[in-house]
């Protein structure tokens, strides 16, 4: 079968991704370009016996070496040598789009010009003479309205025709006017000393533009003579500058625009002038001084409400599915013994629990990702950046940091994973890193349970105030940190000019939105969940080993024996006693558990009867004991059984607590006490914070395991209050601040690794946060203690300090690099 490698190139907002989706359908994949974090979208389709591999290059305005996306696109064209490049253009903006087309043609590759969004052009009264344009450009021109399927067939046929011809094309040659003799000179100089398979004229133009990447190409291909070539090029550039009083790169760009002007003038006629009137009207409100910010708040609120609140309700339907996975796992695994649980069983259940905790977010993420796709497709994102750029710029961030910060939980309840994924849209590398590094400090959904626990115990009188404090203080810690990072460690990162297009508003398509949501969910599952599962196992091992000493095991065996003996003594002479001898007692306990679970939540009498019938047929005698009704002897045994069960639970809990106490994780927690004592943390809190590394929700669960109670059904709040008698609200405040700043969850950390493409940054993000968290908490606790402040006073003072610090950091204005 014939194969064609095709690349899609085009400026942003030209409908390129719609073309990609229409051509490849569901057959799409995402990967990274080698060594960089730019997404490589690729797919394929078959038509008329030809298999076409499609690579969707990043949307760029130009093909210089200044931005990563442009470098990636250019390198793909140069090195992978596609058989055909389809240049998708916004037909209503032909003149500006031609600027990129010329740069593609200059690389002497076969180009198919696709005039897309013809419907918009028609609406704006733009008429294009396709034959004339084709003649002038020297490349086939295909008009389409891909969104409505118009022109698709013609486009596919043209791709096949050009792609299969496999020959070098020479389209239009741009006349660079007074620069031509200089270009000739460079070409002549290169001939002979530097053999490459790149077009000579293109190399010459790029050298005149002082393009670093092309200089590197020349260096690679001209072993010895490179310095001479470089010096000569510099001379030629200078000579041109002296002659024309203009930078060569400017002259080149202006020549391209002049040519675009000429071609557009000959092939385009505008019947009436009506440039996106509707978008302009919408913007009058959306970017209004007062309504603009109000609408922004409304959009953010809707985003939260629909995903976090409504999406959370959806988990009510999906959680039973996950619970089913757990109960299925429990059923397959070997059953627990009276005082021990087989290792493989505990491991499997812990594993399922850890993965379920993350999978539970899938409905929320799905809604979130779909809503982001809608915001992206409508064109609201650049407006968001426009509204807030000035504010964020003061803290080393960027207008486009808005969305990631909203997603990360700028108020209460976000998630760092989609937030860090969304930083991709920030063109300025320094601001992108700063945003990525502060996102884990915002209030993600999983931090909330611990907030609520601590506030309920220690700030019970001022719950609203304390929650408000947590919701707002995080942003006043994150912003100054962003500024400090961008002034110090991120100082040398590349920045990019802000200047961006404000595209006309579009109606998003359902396909585009759902497609992107599914694709991002898939990325999340593939890359994050797998590794979280692996880390969960590591933490499990740290919590289980080395386990109890023989002495302690013997001690618990004794207790078990006592409990069992007392049980048998009570039921001596009971007619049912014969059914619960030996191993049967354990079978009965498990039977009881299963029955309770099966009957849980069943109110319908009919259904209850079916469940009962099932258990009766399984074991009639057990059923009589578990559900004694009016049988006096059975009732007596039932009472004794309940006592035994609660004794067993107590022993199991004690074993578990002692196991954690004795475990590697417990030892680490203890060894950290000398440091964490300044923040007021004992080893139990340390262990809870360490265990939250797999997922922050774990912190509360671990505390639950550490604070034991003999009384059935006592809340964790009560148990914690009882165990930690000298814990004060100041301790709690310190813990709250650490939770806000410190424990980076593994999923977020991994997303940082994926987005920055570097393990170094991943580790940095982890350790600077741990450091920051412990320093802030120690400061608040130690100083608060010295001054004898109450938790609430310390809270108020800390808030004012954070706010003041934020304002000061915002006022520091480093000299701008353009000056």
């Amino acid at each position: 079968m014939n194969k064609v490698l095709m690349a899609l190139a085009g400026q942003p907002n030209c409908g390129k991704s719609t073309v990609f989706n229409t051509l490849t359908g569901a057959n799409q994949h995402v990967a990274n370009y080698p060594g960089v974090t730019v997404d490589k979208m690729y797919g394929s389709y078959r038509k008329n016996g030809v298999k076409v591999e499609v690579v969707d290059l990043p949307g760029t305005y130009s093909l210089t070496s200044y931005s990563l996306e442009e470098r990636v696109s250019r390198n793909f064209i140069l090195h992978d040598k596609p058989d055909v490049v389809v240049n998708v253009m916004d037909a209503s903006n032909l003149k500006r789009n031609l600027y990129l087309t010329f740069q593609l043609l200059e690389m002497e590759i076969p180009v198919v010009v696709n005039l897309n969004m013809m419907d918009v052009a028609h609406r704006r009264g733009v008429e294009i003479d396709f034959d004339c344009l084709e003649r002038l450009l020297g490349a086939p021109v295909v008009p389409t309205t891909i969104k409505k399927g118009k022109g698709k067939k013609n486009l596919i046929n043209t791709i096949n025709k050009v792609g299969l011809s496999k020959k070098k094309e020479h389209g239009i040659k741009i006349d660079y006017g007074s620069m031509e003799p200089f270009l000739d000179e460079i070409e002549k100089m290169l001939a002979g000393v530097c053999e490459t398979d790149y077009p000579a004229r293109w190399l010459a133009v790029k050298l005149m533009e002082a393009d670093d990447e092309v200089e590197k190409i020349i260096r690679r291909h001209s072993a010895a003579g490179f310095d001479a070539i470089k010096a000569r090029v510099k001379q030629i550039r200078r000579a041109f500058e002296a002659e024309s009083d203009e930078l060569p790169e400017r002259h080149i760009a202006y020549a391209r625009y002049k040519e675009a002007d000429r071609i557009a003038g000959e092939s385009v006629s505008v019947k009436r002038k009506e440039a996106s009137l509707l978008s302009d009207k919408i913007d009058r409100i959306v970017c209004h001084k007062i309504f603009g910010p109000l609408i922004l708040v409304g959009v953010v609120y809707a985003l939260y409400h629909l995903s976090i609140v409504e999406g959370y309700k959806l988990t009510n339907y999906t959680w039973p599915l996950l619970a089913k996975i757990k109960s299925l796992t429990a059923a397959i695994m070997p059953p627990p013994g009276f005082m021990t649980e087989p290792m493989v069983r505990s491991l499997a259940l812990w594993f399922v629990d850890s993965v379920n905790a993350l999978l539970n977010y899938v409905p929320i993420f799905f809604i979130l990702f779909a809503l982001i796709a809608i915001l992206e497709d409508t064109g609201y994102m650049p407006r968001m950046a426009f509204l807030l750029d000035r504010l964020f710029k003061r803290f080393g961030l960027h207008g486009q940091s808005t969305l990631p910060m909203v997603l990360g939980g700028i108020y209460v309840g976000g998630c760092a994973v989609p937030a860090i994924m969304a930083t991709k849209g920030i063109p300025d590398e320094r601001a992108r890193f700063a945003t990525t590094l502060i996102i884990p400090m915002l209030n993600c959904l999983a931090k909330i349970p611990l907030y609520i626990l601590m506030i309920n115990i220690y700030f019970a009188q001022h719950k609203g105030l304390a929650m408000m404090f947590m919701a707002t203080v995080t942003i006043f810690m994150a912003l100054p940190v962003a500024k400090i990072l961008s002034l110090t460690i991120l100082k040398d990162k590349e920045t990019a000019p802000f200047i961006m297009e404000m595209p006309p508003y579009h109606l998003p398509t359902i396909r585009g939105v759902l497609g992107r949501a599914v694709e991002r969910i898939w990325l999340f599952l593939k890359k994050i969940v797998t590794i979280v599962a692996a880390v969960a196992i590591v933490i499990f091992v740290l919590m289980q080993f080395p386990g109890l000493t023989e002495d302690r095991n013997a001690h618990y065996a004794d207790e078990t024996k006592i409990a069992k003996e007392s049980f048998y003594k009570k039921i001596a002479g009971n007619p049912y006693a014969e059914y619960v001898q030996g191993d049967s007692i354990m079978a009965l306990i498990l039977y009881n558990e299963r029955y309770k679970k099966a009957r849980m939540g069943i109110k319908n009498k009919e259904k209850a009867r079916t469940v009962d019938a099932r258990f009766i047929s399984e074991n009639e005698n057990f059923f009589k004991i578990v559900k004694p009704k009016k049988d006096k002897q059975a009732k007596k045994l039932n009472r004794a059984l309940k006592k035994l069960i609660s004794a067993r639970k107590r022993i199991l809990r004690q074993i578990k607590a002692e196991m954690i106490d004795n475990s590697f994780l417990g030892k680490i927690g203890r060894s950290l006490e000398p440091v964490t004592k300044y923040a007021g943390f004992n080893w139990r809190v340390n262990v809870a914070l360490l265990s939250s590394f797999a997922a922050k929700e774990s912190s509360v669960a671990t505390l639950g395991a550490l604070y034991q109670s003999d009384e059935e059904g006592e809340t964790l709040e009560k148990r914690m209050e009882k165990t930690e008698k000298d814990f004060t609200p100041l301790h709690a405040l310190s813990l709250l601040l650490v939770m806000a700043l410190f424990p980076p969850c593994i999923a977020a950390v991994l997303t940082i690794k994926i987005q920055t493409g570097s393990v170094k940054w991943m580790l940095f993000s982890m350790f600077y946060q741990m450091f920051l968290g412990i320093v802030v908490a120690s400061f608040v606790f130690t100083v608060g203690n010295l001054l004898g402040l109450t938790g609430l006073q310390a809270m108020g003072i800390f808030f004012c300090m954070a706010l003041t610090f934020t304002i000061i950091m915002g006022l520091i204005n480093p000299r701008h690099e353009y000056q």
Partner: protein, 73 residues
Amino acid sequence: MTLDSLKPGSQCYTKKITAKGKLNQRLIDMGIYPGLQVKVIRNAPLEDPMEIELGGYCLSIRHEEAKFVEVEG
């Protein structure tokens, strides 16, 4: 006169770009070159950045960047 000094609603023609390096390239790539008619549409609620229209499409640009575009009535 430079582009950043214009008030919303005013129009002008671009005369010269005075930026260097990356900003220079970006300004040009986004379609700014001499002799272009530019209209200032609005400033953001916090005054910066500004939105300009040129030949049928709109750009958002910070004032500190617009300073490098010389314009004339």
